[in-house]
């Protein structure tokens, strides 16, 4: 193999300029390209030629994944080009250098190279490379955990690519915006960007890599959105693109993505076969980075299959390769995985060794996530060898490190979710508006039915955001969202006893989960304080009600409106001594009165930083004591019917979702409530029903008015020429008949003027229709004929 390629180097070198040949070989076989350039370097003497040779070796090494070697050559080349004042060559060099540093995890050096490249691109006015550099900068920012700044960078790059009409780059930047938005959880934006990029790439003759990257990103987005079938189809399409262009890197990337998709759904056998295939592809083409990736994935698959010795072998392989090319991120991953394998094989001594090394490296590179993972694994390893003091110490450090990461991630996530929430709402409103407009054209009843069903669908799609927002709000003191789920379930159960209809129960189940969403706005120091709050802190704590209501305000759906009223009023008291407004009795929304009881019940029966968990009987006794004081008596009675002497449901755990909750409620046999209570409940329901009916009538009236307006507008359109807004032929015919009849009757005269305007067509043809349209419209309407 080596001999063959040596011979090829020698043959090709004699026929053509070796550097030109090397450049051409870059895209096909980077190893050959580097070899050709090295050959040339030995022979050339001109400083510019030396620079070029070094650059090509650097690129060749980089493409093979030999990062450290690439950096050395590229640094050398960049220095030479700088002294030669060769801006263009220096720019190319700096961009690859930036990439290599990035891949090595050395973000500071990567940023330096990219900033230099940006200066150089500005000076030489090379917009293509300027956009390239910005794109790269975004990648580094993202890797440094600043996705917000990364998106800003990409937007600037996109503007440049649009202004200077660089469609392929535009598409690549859109792909990156899509990828970034996927990791940010902003799926609508991701989809929009990736589709736009896809269309641009389909329209022009574009590079294999650009198309494949776009397809792979789209695939990962579908995977995130829970559509593995579509995702796999896209990965396979990317693979086909790679095969057709004989681009092994694309093929390897596509197969790797397919393998990861199967691993994600725990289809271990398929994942194993695909990782093997991708590994083979990567090795055949000398793609180190991919080789490491696939070794890593394959090892994890074997670990999942229980074949730990095999997994350890693969992870050791991956460790060796990572060290070979100096990829320290990959080195950390390999060390931790190896540690896991050893732990599973009961070889704690070996595990301790590799994990300690992994921890040190992770600390050096400030990879917080790896740091806490390493501590957790080290705690387990120390426990295995009986070093309990060390185990405890690692366990404590694991907790501290994890808290830091979770708090950071939680804040980011909350911000993102709020944005997504607004987006869902805006889309809902736009959709509703569109459907209402459609109503005029279609039969009114039909469109109305559609509005209802779409409303339901959109409420469902909002559901997911609601769930995640609820979890985000509770993340700091309840990382699983179980508290909100139990409150939702218990509130629904109480409402069930009060006789609420099924669809209202479901709304309450979801809306109740958002009761504490305003806690997002309360500082940790207060929220997580173990002791009693001082007066000032308590004042701060109170505003979580108004913050929550503000977050949920202006919602159109019934779900959001109910969630808003609950968030605002769930700390009001029946006797008027609650907050924020001191409302009393029936002026507190019923939903909030129910959630008040459900929330306190759950708080009492579970442990809090400042109290132990109470037995259910004690908790119910306390709630009973507050009947008519803190709580609505009717709601307390309903609560007792479920959680009283013989609890019908467990207050300690709630099912995962509404379907399971509904099943639970359906099986709930509840004794009839005391007579007057039941009567009052019925009266309450009747009032509520009438209220709903009135609301519905109002909606129908509004829809009717809109339909009338729309149909008038349609009538106008039927008699108007859309271009000039003059009357059309039909309008002429109608008016003409009327005018003739009137003229004959009044014994007057009437003339008809026919005008043909030549030359406007010419305008349309030469300047485009827009110009022709806009100029012919006004001048013909105003004229002296009228």
């Amino acid at each position: 193999m080596a001999a063959a390629s040596d011979r090829l180097v020698a043959e090709v070198g004699t026929v053509m300029d070796p550097l030109t040949t090397a450049r051409e070989a870059l895209n096909v076989d980077p190893r050959l390209a580097a070899a050709l350039a090295r050959e040339a370097l030995a022979r050339v003497h001109d400083p510019a030629e030396i620079g070029r040779a070094l650059l090509l070796i650097g690129i060749g090494e980089y493409r093979q994944g030999n990062l450290a070697a690439a950096v050395a050559k590229l640094d050398d080349a960049a220095g030479r080009f700088a002294s030669l004042d060769d801006d263009a060559a220096q720019l190319e060099c700096l961009l690859v250098l930036g990439r290599a540093h990035r891949d090595l995890g050395d973000f500071a050096s990567a940023s330096d190279a990219i900033e230099q490249a940006l200066v150089s691109a500005n000076r030489s006015g090379d917009h293509r490379l300027e956009a390239d550099a910005l794109n790269l900068k975004a990648g580094v920012l993202d890797a440094q955990g600043e996705p917000g700044h990364a998106v800003e960078c990409l937007k600037r790059a996109l503007d440049i690519a649009r202004d200077f009409d660089l469609p392929e780059q535009q598409a690549n930047i859109l792909t990156n915006i899509g990828t970034l938005s996927t990791t940010l959880g902003d799926y609508p934006r991701a989809l929009e960007s990736l589709k736009e990029g896809y269309e641009l790439l389909q329209a022009g003759a574009s590079k294999t890599r650009s198309r494949a990257t776009n397809l792979l990103s789209l695939g990962r987005l579908y995977l995130e959105m829970g559509d593995p079938t579509e995702a796999q189809a896209l990965f396979r399409e990317a693979r086909r693109v790679g095969l057709e262009a004989s681009d092994p890197m694309v093929e390897a990337a596509a197969v790797n993505n397919l393998a990861n998709a199967h691993r994600r759904f725990e289809e271990w056998k398929q994942a194993r076969d695909l990782f093997e295939e991708a590994l083979h592809l990567a090795r055949r083409s000398g793609l180190k980075q991919f080789e490491i990736d696939n070794l890593d994935g394959l090892g994890q698959v074997y670990a999942a299959l229980g074949e730990h010795p095999r997994a350890a072998e693969l992870h050791a392989d991956s460790l060796r390769s990572a060290r070979e090319i100096g990829d320290r991120e990959a080195e950390i991953d390999a060390l931790l995985n190896l540690g896991r394998d050893y732990l599973a094989m009961d070889r704690a001594d070996r595990a301790l060794e590799v994990l300690t090394e992994g921890l040190t490296l992770a600390q050096q590179l400030e990879r917080q996530r790896s740091v806490f993972e390493a501590h957790e694994l080290l705690a387990a390893a120390n426990e295995q060898v009986g070093a309990f003091r060390q185990a405890l110490s690692h366990y404590q450090q694991f907790h501290r490190a994890r808290e830091v990461v979770f708090n950071e991630e939680n804040e980011q996530k909350t911000r993102r979710l709020s944005v997504q929430f607004d987006l869902e709402r805006a889309r809902f409103e736009a959709e509703e508006y569109r459907l209402r407009t459609e109503m005029a054209q279609e039969a009114k009843e039909e469109a109305e039915a559609m509005v209802r069903s779409r409303t339901r669908e959109l409420e469902e799609s909002q559901q997911e955001v609601v769930d995640r927002l609820a979890v985000a709000a509770e993340y700091r003191d309840d990382s699983t969202g179980e508290h909100t789920r139990r409150v939702g379930r218990n509130a629904a159960a109480i409402a069930y006893v009060l006789g609420w209809p099924e669809d209202e129960l479901q709304l309450l189940y979801s809306a109740a989960r958002l009761h504490d969403v305003g806690k997002i706005g309360i500082r940790d120091a207060i929220l997580l304080k173990p002791g009693k709050l001082v007066a000032e802190e308590f004042e701060r704590m109170r505003i979580h009600t108004t913050i929550g209501a503000r977050i949920l305000s202006a919602g159109q759906s019934r779900l959001l409106r109910m969630a808003e009223e609950i968030a605002l009023a769930h700390h009001e008291r029946w006797d008027g001594r609650g907050y924020p407004f001191g409302l009393a009795g029936d002026s507190i929304p019923l939903s909030a009165r129910i959630v008040a009881v459900a929330d306190v019940l759950d708080a009492l029966t579970h442990e809090r930083p400042y109290k132990r968990a109470w037995p259910i009987a004690d908790a119910m006794a306390e709630i009973q004591r507050q009947r008519g004081h803190q709580f609505d008596p009717r709601v307390v009675d309903a609560c007792r019917a479920i959680f009283g002497e013989r609890p019908k449901l467990s207050p300690l755990e709630a099912p995962m979702d509404w379907q399971a909750t509904a099943a639970e409620l359906a099986g709930l046999a509840v004794e009839a409530m005391p007579e007057p209570e039941a009567e009052r409940a019925e009266a309450g329901l009747r009032t509520r029903f009438e209220h709903l009916l009135a609301e519905r009538t109002q909606e129908m009236e509004a829809a009717k008015r809109e339909a009338q307006i729309a149909s008038r507008r349609m009538q106008e359109l039927a008699y108007t020429d859309p271009l000039t807004e003059l009357g059309n032929r039909r309008a002429f015919k109608m008016d003409f008949e009327v005018e003739i009849a009137r003229t004959a009757q009044m014994d007057e005269s009437l003339s008809v003027l026919t005008v043909i305007i030549d030359g406007l067509k010419g305008v349309n043809d030469s300047d485009g229709h827009e110009q022709g349209d806009s100029s012919c419209a006004p001048s013909l309407v105003q004229p002296g004929v009228s």
Partner: protein, 88 residues
């Protein structure tokens, strides 16, 4: 003096109430004024060809009136079928 309608791609019709043959010169002037505006707007090649007919002096029925007005449009270039046959 009346309302303008667009009845085809480049064909326009105007109903001019209380306008008889004695007012025709005034109408021609008006059409020329309009075209001046159009040309000044940048359509140097734009040119209007107009035909004019009066009821009841020149035509006895509504359809004759439109047809006569159409026929009086100078024919150096055939106007489209739309303009020739606006009402039927």
């Amino acid at each position: 003096m009346g309302r303008v309608y667009r009845v085809g791609g480049d064909a326009f019709l105007a109903i001019l109430t209380r306008v008889g043959p004695e007012d025709f010169p005034r109408v021609s002037d008006a059409v020329e004024t309009v075209m001046q505006v159009v040309r000044e707007a940048g359509f140097v090649l734009a040119r209007a060809r107009a035909g004019l007919a009066a009821f009841p002096a020149e035509a006895a029925s509504p359809s004759d009136l439109v047809e006569l007005s159409n026929r009086r449009v100078p024919r150096d270039e055939l106007p489209s079928h739309d303009a020739l046959d606006p009402v039927n």
